[in-house]
């Protein structure tokens, strides 16, 4: 009897975000006839995929007990430098491949810088990434003279604009990476270790886990996801604004993770939750637009949803 009650409670905890998504989906379908149109749904998914991909990496960082505030600035820096690399190599198919590889490596490198200062320098993640957030943005502005990075390639936009089987490429990547990371989190040694480190670092250390390495890898992973997102975004517009690109991405990414049920204190979380969290945020934005709510008020709603999600988490604990 008691185990049944326990199970019921656990299930509600586990599927809370999914439940919220379903409710939101039904409400939206009733509120607007356009909501359920395929084009609108694909549009929402495409919009959430940029910060959603970053949120996937962020999930590892937050479960490990950390945070990364630098992802927005990092997006701009990587996107800008990828375009510069692309132009340098001439804009052909080889140039695109080289620029993408360069971007991915750069992302992992920038993530590693965060991770190394946090683990070797023993500085709080909040402080380190607050610092690099300023540094990465300032460097982006400096390189572009506060202007725009413009690609000269005709081929590059095909990546960000393209479709595969009727679904936008960023959406494929979002779900593909979510599936891959889900397996890593749930079924590999690394995933188990991330949870262990986040739930009790001392126990993890006594249990022969290389705590520093686990945390460092989490920041490298988020750097990688930032690079994927930066490449997709710069490719979609074939250009990138040094001052506007990636602004508030850290907010959206962290919000998606938290709404998805990952504990801000670390230790527990899920990839599917993060995907759901990102989509919830996307639907809310979409509905506010369709209902004609001022875009300036959308931030208020987002803020309320984040705080609400954490309040619910607190109640459960």
């Amino acid at each position: 009897m008691q185990t049944n009650i326990l199970k019921g409670k656990l299930d509600l905890e586990k599927h809370g975000p999914l439940f919220a998504l379903v409710v939101l989906f039904i409400l939206s379908s009733i509120a607007s006839p356009y909501f359920l149109q395929t084009r609108n749904i694909l549009n929402i998914l495409r919009q959430v995929s940029y910060t959603g991909i970053i949120a996937l990496g962020m999930t590892f960082v937050i479960i490990s007990g950390g945070i990364d505030l630098s992802v927005g600035s990092m997006t701009a820096l990587i996107g800008g430098l990828v375009i510069m690399a692309l132009n340098y190599f001439g804009g052909g198919i080889m140039a695109i491949i080289i620029a993408i590889l360069f971007g991915l490596l750069l992302g992992m490198f920038l993530g590693a810088i965060n991770g190394l200062i946090i683990t070797k320098g023993k500085v709080a993640p909040f402080i380190v990434t607050l610092g690099t957030m300023a540094i990465y943005r300032s460097f982006t502005l400096y390189v572009s003279n506060a202007g725009e990075f413009r690609s000269t390639s005709n081929l590059y936009p095909k990546l960000g604009m393209g479709y595969f089987l009727g679904i936008p490429i960023p959406v494929w990547l979002f779900f593909g990476l979510a599936a891959l990371f889900g397996v890593i989190l749930n079924s590999t040694r690394y995933g188990r270790y991330v949870c262990a480190v986040g739930s009790n670092e001392r126990v993890a250390r006594y249990s022969a886990i290389n705590v520093d390495r686990v945390r460092l890898i989490a920041y490298i992973i988020v750097g990688f996801t930032v690079a994927v997102s930066a490449i997709l975004m710069s490719s979609r517009l074939n250009s990138l604004s040094s001052s506007n690109a990636g602004v508030n991405y850290e907010l959206d990414a962290i919000a998606a993770v938290i709404i998805g049920g990952t504990a801000m204190t670390g230790g527990v979380g899920s990839m599917s939750g993060t995907v759901i969290g990102a989509i919830i945020l996307g639907i809310i934005n979409n509905m506010l637009n369709m209902l004609g709510v001022s875009p300036y008020l959308q931030g208020t709603v987002k803020g309320l949803v984040i705080i609400g999600a954490v309040l619910i988490q607190r109640k459960k604990a």
């Binding site: 590999t188 040694r189 188990r192 739930s199 126990v203 006594y206 230790g267």
Partner: protein
Amino acid sequence: MKPDQVLVKTVGISKSFSGVTVLDNINVEILQGEILGIIGENGAGKSTFIKILNGTYTPSEGRVFFAGSPVHIRDTSVAKRLGISTIPQEFNLINHLSVYENIFLGKELVKGNRLLDKQQMKEKTSELLRELDTDIPPDAKLQDLSVAQKQMVEIAKAIAYDSRLLIMDEPTTVLTQHEIDILFNLMQRLKEKGVTIIYISHKLREVKRICDRVIILRDGQFISLDPTDALDEQEMARRMVGRELTQIFPPKIQPQANAVLQVRNLSVSGLLHDISFDLRKGEILGFSGLIGAGRTELAEALIGIHPITSGQIMINGKTQVISSPIDAVNNGIAYLSEDRQGTGVLTSFDVASNVTLVSLNEYCKPLIDRKKEKAQTEEYIKAFNIRTPSTRTLLEYLSGGNQQKVSLAKSLDPKPEIFIIDEPTRGIDVNAKKEVYYFIHELVKTGISCILISSEMEEILGLCNRVVVMREGRVTGILEADEMSEAEIMFYATGLKEGA
């Protein structure tokens, strides 16, 4: 006031925590102006007794009379108002405040305009410190002081308020002989002024020297209250431990002659000094000592938590560098922590994930083989009789004893050769203890060598082939089976005897 007037009288004081009685029916009279020693083994109830007097705990039963009238000391502020102050075992000072700010914390002196009267506070602090014969400047920040200086500040803080009863819990552990002499002088002067002092110490020689009378507690029971003149130190030690061994121990197995672990001149800066010992194959080697002797620190040094500053560790005759728990596991050393939730198990993980946490590599190919994980965990659940609904139940839903068994399974799953067990029976009942003893016996039968850290003498004597006694980060004696007795161990642990 007459010198022999009773200041504190306890009538039938008892204290229990979740059903476990830690202090049982204590009736004592503490006289005005005496220095009263309280001695006993770890867990004898000394700290509980004084925590009842200073309002940290309220007694489960019994009453306290202070200066003739019944009092209900429900919290520390009541104790303060009565004039009871405590010099705690652990410092209660704020590191980034200055000496005088610490001394007057919560009792700041103010001028007529409500601003702090720093000048007067500093002067008073200087006065207090002069009385203690130390030259600590009142302006110094606490964090810049040595441990001994901090102790002096703590003492100054306690006597800054006009105390009638001053409780000192192990105040001399960090002091040098010179500082101890100053402290004893001061205690003498306070006594002449009519202040009553309760003095808790493991150092019997000091108790003999400074105290007028001494209370001996054992397992929460009152054993005796006698003038210190009537007891010698040996008798004190005997009364502290005197117990019959009950038949709950498995037969001892003779270990093999070869050493699996040899520790030579091992030191850890500030914690351990020049530790040497051998662990033979199939041996249960006991580690005895009082709290703060450095036994857990030694275990942590052996598994690479504390960096070793000098000395070497040899395993099966080969010198090994162990600089992290990963190295320890690779060298076949496992550790069962005394601090289960702090360093032992993850309460937010399920049973199976805890069991395989250290040995996870064995379950990866490269994805975690959940079937194998489950099967192995089920074996442990059967072998150790772990009560859990399933292998995937979160540990926070299990009782303390069952969590302890999961912790045990987790340590043993990597198949260690050397198993360090730190206080495995703390806070569990006699039957569970017996289970643990027979379990260790079975382990040794399979050829695992054990280091058993325990504060329970009975356990050390009943299980171990030999015992290493530690005191203040050093090995003071290694006793062979025929030399082992409670009194003998206590002599080495308290510093009455030294040298193997």
